[in-house]
């Protein structure tokens, strides 16, 4: 095997430019695929985190008074699917707001009455889908004294739609780019084969088996795939480190995001896939040439 690896490395060196182009093409395809994987992994984690303990704010009508609170809490609890419930009175809400907007005291001086409603903050139990959360919120809204329920439905709904769209686009784009990478790899092997046609012919004449002839090409394909995958992931890691902190800062106001790079499992899958891609490109090419 060492002999074949040395031979493959020597062939890569003698066809540097061709191999460089192939590795770059594979790495770009892998980069695109891993960008989608990174997004899916983190987006799935966001959705999962939100589903496992999403918070909602129940705003109450003006007619609400403190003596109605036990009944209301009972009614809400009766709907189930709640882990925690905290009442926030309008005066507590105003104090909190003043604390958060301490730099704008003049604005609060203009207020004659407290415009904020009484509210109950709840932490919901885990839901399987956004539709279930929406249905639960509608049930709460249907209760007496409840004016509306705020649970991030705007951005989350949009996020989920984008997520679905992104997923479909991702599958299509990844398939397309992997096909292109496969085509380029197969073509590189074909060109390498034609440039070594005399060598292959002589090998056959001196009694080399097909395995002996093909193995260096396969090793070359595996090298291309492996290094293409590693390069693609390295570019992704660079990009991730450059922009991840900014994304985390923007989203933490809405929901806790644990932004992470691809898991070890995903990294191994990507490298294995790209290595396989190199091998498969070689296989297709040799199958066509040597049929």
């Amino acid at each position: 095997m060492t002999r074949f690896m040395k031979k493959a490395l020597a062939d890569i060196r003698s066809n540097r430019f061709l191999n460089f182009i192939t590795i770059i093409t594979i790495s770009l395809s892998i980069l695109l695929v891993s960008v989608f994987m990174l997004f899916f992994e983190n987006a799935s984690r966001v959705i999962e985190a939100w589903n496992q303990g999403g918070r909602a704010m129940i705003y109450l009508e003006k007619e609400f008074s403190m003596d109605m609170l036990p009944t209301l809490k009972e009614n809400i609890t009766g709907l189930g699917e709640i882990n925690e419930m905290v009442f926030i009175s309008k005066s507590q809400a105003m104090s909190q707001l003043k604390k958060e907007m301490s730099g704008r005291t003049e604005f609060f001086k203009t207020l004659k009455t407290n415009p904020l409603p009484d509210a109950i903050e709840i932490q919901m139990k885990s839901h399987d889908s956004f539709e279930e959360v929406q249905a639960f919120a509608r049930n709460i809204e249907a209760l007496d004294l409840v004016e509306n329920v705020e649970y991030g439905q705007g951005w989350l709904g949009k996020f989920l739609n984008i997520f679905k769209l992104f997923k479909m686009t991702g599958y299509a784009m990844c398939s397309l780019f992997l096909l292109i990478a496969l085509f380029i790899t197969a073509n590189t092997v074909r060109l390498a084969f034609y440039s070594r046609r005399l060598e292959v012919e002589i090998m056959r004449l001196v009694g080399a088996t097909e395995g002996f002839i093909k193995t260096p090409f396969y090793v070359e394909g595996l090298f291309q795939g492996f290094f293409g995958g590693v390069l693609g992931l390295a570019i992704l890691l660079g990009g991730y480190l450059a922009i991840s902190s900014g994304i985390t800062d923007n989203f933490t106001g809405y929901v806790y995001i644990d932004m992470r790079f691809l898991s070890v499992k995903s990294i191994l899958i990507v490298i294995f896939s790209s290595t396989f891609l190199g091998w498969f490109g070689c296989y297709l090419s040799l199958k066509q040439i040597l049929k």
Binding site: R3, S14, L198, E199, I202, V206, G207, A208, F212
Partner: protein
């Protein structure tokens, strides 16, 4: 073929067609182990085709060939490389890999046979020294003269210690001195027991050098077979 038979190559009514052209026509021939065969004839007589059908670079159109009792028509593609290892091939155009050194070109035969690197190094250097190319082991073929390239080709043909050597116009592009050197190598190897078939139109050079059998071809047909003394 009976048990006492020393025949290593046997052709039964072999014909080879390229389209409508008949390159070999109904050739029947027995070659004994250790014979030195000189295949003569003008250009287009079928000399190269005869060698090609022997090492299965071409398949026969009709007839059968037995090599050491093995019917070539029944050799599977998987077993073909193992059959070819029994042959050492020398070509008029040398067929050396230009981007590989002399050493690597010769070593290829043993690498293909799965020999160990240590053995390959030792054996190749020994053969290169025998053919006078030991000092050129690291040279690339294109930096060598025609005679030197053919000596490398001879080294490659004999390094695997084949039982049969087929040489297609081995002296065709060489001057007389270089051609004589190549023939001397072949004679030396023949003395070690190898069966040798040399296809050439240079009958004069062969007659003056080799004691063997001359097989004359004309228009693909076996014309005469005679012993040269």
């Amino acid at each position: 073929m009976n048990a006492d038979d020393n025949t290593i190559i046997r052709l039964f009514n072999v014909s080879k067609r390229y389209g409508s052209k008949l390159a070999l026509s109904d050739v029947s021939l027995d070659i004994e182990q250790g014979e030195f065969i000189f295949v003569s004839g003008p250009s287009g007589a079928g000399k190269s085709t005869l060698l090609k059908v022997l090492y299965l670079a071409e398949k026969v159109s009709e007839g059968q060939i037995l090599i050491d009792g093995m019917n070539l028509a029944r050799i599977s593609s998987g077993k073909l490389p193992f059959l070819r290892r029994r042959f050492g091939m020398i070509f008029q155009d040398f067929k050396l890999i230009p981007n590989r050194t002399v050493f690597e070109n010769v070593a290829l035969v043993l690498e293909a046979a799965g020999e160990k690197p240590g053995y390959i190094r030792k054996k190749v250097m020994h053969v290169l020294r025998t053919t006078g190319m030991g000092k050129k082991a690291k040279s690339l073929p294109l930096t060598l003269s025609g005679g030197e390239q053919q000596r490398v080709a001879v080294a490659r043909a004999v390094v695997g210690e084949p039982s049969i050597i087929l040489a297609d116009e081995p002296t065709g592009s060489l001057d007389e001195k270089a051609a004589q050197t190549i023939l001397d190598f072949l004679i030396g190897y023949h003395k070690k027991g190898a069966t040798i078939l040399v296809a050439s139109h240079n009958l004069h050079l062969m007659e003056s050098t080799i004691r063997g059998r001359n097989i004359a071809l004309e228009d693909g047909k076996l014309k005469t077979t005679s012993t040269m003394l």
